[in-house]
Symmetry: C2
Subunit: 463 residues, 2 copies
């Protein structure tokens, strides 16, 4: 009996020893390589300078705009400047929505007279034209309340969707998702009941004067209502005033329009693989941004971090087995045409993608990654987690990835979402204040290093 | 044999089950209570409003200043307003250093003529007086280089300490520590070799125009040299110019002086314990700040978070077993008199402190805590770590705590340092830009909730 126990214990020890030994062997190299990656990013990083140019010299770059075209040129030249093995464009036709002149929003018949509020047209929305939209305004929190009011309560009026993001959710993207249908589907839902326009509370936990734009999606065969986002401070003001006076009237004017599709491009930079050059690992962000801002956190940071991943690995002399691609996707914000085109071409060219990573949650302090992949792939990555602890990278969870790489994921490619801390993202998201100065150099650099470290491990060990 | 194995497996299962059951029992209550704490902080939090008043209405509050006195009054009134069980002051004599009129710094004989640079007097430093300090300037990286130059190379000159914080260190406080002796001991080291003044590179990884003040400590019986911190951009400029022209001369003028000690106060708010009222748990920050700024991250955030811990626990109806104290320590920045006084009084009054927690690393996204305590106490706290994972709190490590609670730690009290992400702290630390707008409401609130959750667990289970 005793012997058997001993045997059992020995068996356990041997197993543990084997694991430890195996792990230690790879760890020693990996520990050193990952340290080099972070040293390069933090000591000789280029991501911050790249971001400064992209945001301050180029600035806003909505698909189809001159800014987007300039960003395409800049990405190509930048990656060529770093002497990547191959840099090329992928042609893609993109929607071309333009905002036109600045929007007007006001409460017209309050006791205080006319009260101006901060609004912006929702992305892809039709314009009101110069005569604007004027009428009584009705506040609802959700589509159930809208349906309950029905045509009787809604027809001929402006609908004001005022549901807050839930501030108690730690995962702000979940809170965003919980309020998002107001912006995405609100205009078409309101159209069902004969509304004449829509005002949506900005999707943010912050209380301030900056309205947040973002796409709305019209349901086919329903009347397209003009629609604006209102700043949270003004949403609260409007709601308070409506409680005092339900006869309030609202006026807004938008001049947006959808022009014919336009030719644009994804930009791809490659480091060619040595032994498995026909296997691809994608690291990407989206090059387009909303028209209101410099598109710093959304998604200038993701673009420069993706370029930086390849630059770092090249700079420290790492020779990848697989072909690594930094991909600047075009038109994530209002069409996803670039992401779709990339996946389409990958399928057409029978390119074997072993992983696709995206950074599109801002350039904040990196916490880790989330995965949409097979269990064994997720387990493999989780096994590398201890390597990241010295860099205060802790989160390796399932779920999500990135919009631009999701068309690849539908082809079965493991999808990896870079996960920076999500607390500040929606303070800036889709607003005029998503600017260079909101990005911390160290947070940006740490993010790039963290992405490079995982890219290195996937390249070395496969997935 | 087989039976024995089964017995063994059963034993294992039972043990695991017992642990799980035991844990689950406490976890269920704790999970719920911690959720309530975060809900209160994020949904009905008061920390941000408190911080706004403390930073924007009161502002700078160096020990002995009118701002510090106003902050004492405000803390007392605020905690009384929340109807804590007991709010009181502890008298403490503090140093009273004043900066006087704005400093001047310039390179006087460069090829471009006189070049102004951004400097501030180091805290506690003597002033140069209206005639300033003028002379050749010698750059060194460390005290070894200084010693190598010796009296021959240093006498009659200004010493320029220009060692960078190491940007590759993830732990920025370690990088700060690695460069800190230039500011703390540089003036006295330079005095040994007959220098006439000292210029120190600002302690930050950021490259900008904001000089960072902070205390210097003169060695007794050595001549006290006037000393300034220079912004990192100007330090780099000066270094470049010195490489071109080693005969450069520098001029600086400071008007600081140390006045006689002044009466000030720690401010203490209490929630009285139910069953163990004579056991104390301290949660604190320091009320004083440098004179240059609003003292937002250093340490307005720590103060309002400490008050918020008690407010949250009271608001959700938690009745502590032990007496919980929010302590606003006075004079951390240039004397630590408040922290010493608190510990002195605790000893004098034979108060049994079971733990002391401090928030003095900024109001950034909380990552966890660090501990200076006995192993079993650290292990106990680490056992609670899973409760924090849903809130993205991951770090529970040994080391450090807080300056103000360190005198308690020398009495054997377990010391807990709240640990927010350290990447942005030194961008603002001790500068004019440590202002309210640099604080993220959500990060601040999450920090307060995280501190409250640990306070609750320590109160409930002891340590």
């Amino acid at each position: 009996m005793k012997l058997k126990y001993i045997a059992l214990v020995l068996l356990c020890c041997l197993t543990i020893d084997n694991i430890t030994a195996q792990k230690a062997k790879t760890d020693d190299q990996d520990v050193e390589m990952i340290r080099k990656i972070y040293d390069e990013a933090l000591g000789k990083g280029e991501s911050y300078q790249m971001l400064e140019f992209l945001t301050k010299q180029i600035g806003a770059r909505l698909a189809g705009s001159p800014g987007a075209a300039a960003a395409v040129d800049w990405s190509k030249e930048t990656m060529e400047g770093f002497e990547f093995d191959n840099v090329f464009l992928q042609e893609v036709m993109v929607p071309h929505w333009v905002r036109g002149q600045k929007e007007i929003g006001k409460i017209v018949n309050s006791k205080m007279g006319s009260v101006e509020v901060n609004v912006v047209a929702l992305g892809n929305s039709v314009g009101s034209g110069p005569n604007g939209v004027a009428g009584k305004i009705v506040e609802v929190q959700n589509f159930d309340e809208l349906a309950a009011l029905g045509e009787t309560g809604i027809k001929g009026k402006i609908v004001f969707f005022n549901r807050r993001m839930d501030p108690t959710l730690i995962e702000t993207f979940e809170a965003y998702g919980g309020a998002g249908n107001q912006r995405g589907a609100g205009p078409s839902e309101a159209a069902k009941y004969g509304a004449i326009g829509v005002v949506v509370r900005s999707l943010t936990n912050a209380l301030d004067d900056h309205p947040h734009t973002g796409s709305t999606n019209y349901t086919p065969n329903l009347y397209k209502l003009p629609a604006v986002a209102i700043s949270t401070n003004d949403a609260d003001k409007l709601s308070r005033m409506l409680k005092d006076d339900s006869e309030l009237e609202f006026y807004f004017e938008t001049h947006s329009q959808m022009l014919p599709d336009k030719l644009s491009h994804n930009v791809v930079g490659e480091l060619k693989g040595s032994s498995k050059a026909d296997e691809y690992i994608v690291v990407g962000g989206h090059l387009d941004s909303w028209d209101l801002s410099q598109g710093a956190h959304d998604d200038g940071t993701g673009c420069v971090q993706s370029i930086e991943v390849l630059r770092i690995l090249k700079a420290i002399g790492y020779k990848p087995k697989r072909t690594l691609r930094a991909v600047m996707f075009m038109n994530e914000e209002n069409g996803l045409r670039g992401g779709r085109k990339y996946a389409e071409l990958a399928a057409e060219n029978k390119e074997k993608h072993i992983a696709a990573m995206e950074s599109d949650r801002g350039g904040f302090k990196p916490l880790g990654f989330t995965f949409t992949a097979e269990d064994k792939q997720v387990e493999r990555i989780k096994g590398w987690a201890p390597l990241f602890v010295p860099y205060q990278i802790y989160k390796f969870d399932t779920g999500g990835g990135g919009a631009d790489i999701s068309p690849l994921a539908t082809q079965g490619v493991p999808m990896i979402g870079f996960y920076p801390d999500p607390q500040r993202y929606f303070d800036y998201h889709h607003t005029a204040i998503d600017t260079f100065d909101k990005v911390s150099r160290r947070e940006l650099e740490l993010g790039a290093a963290t992405m490079a470290a995982l890219t290195y491990l996937i390249d070395k060990y496969g997935l």
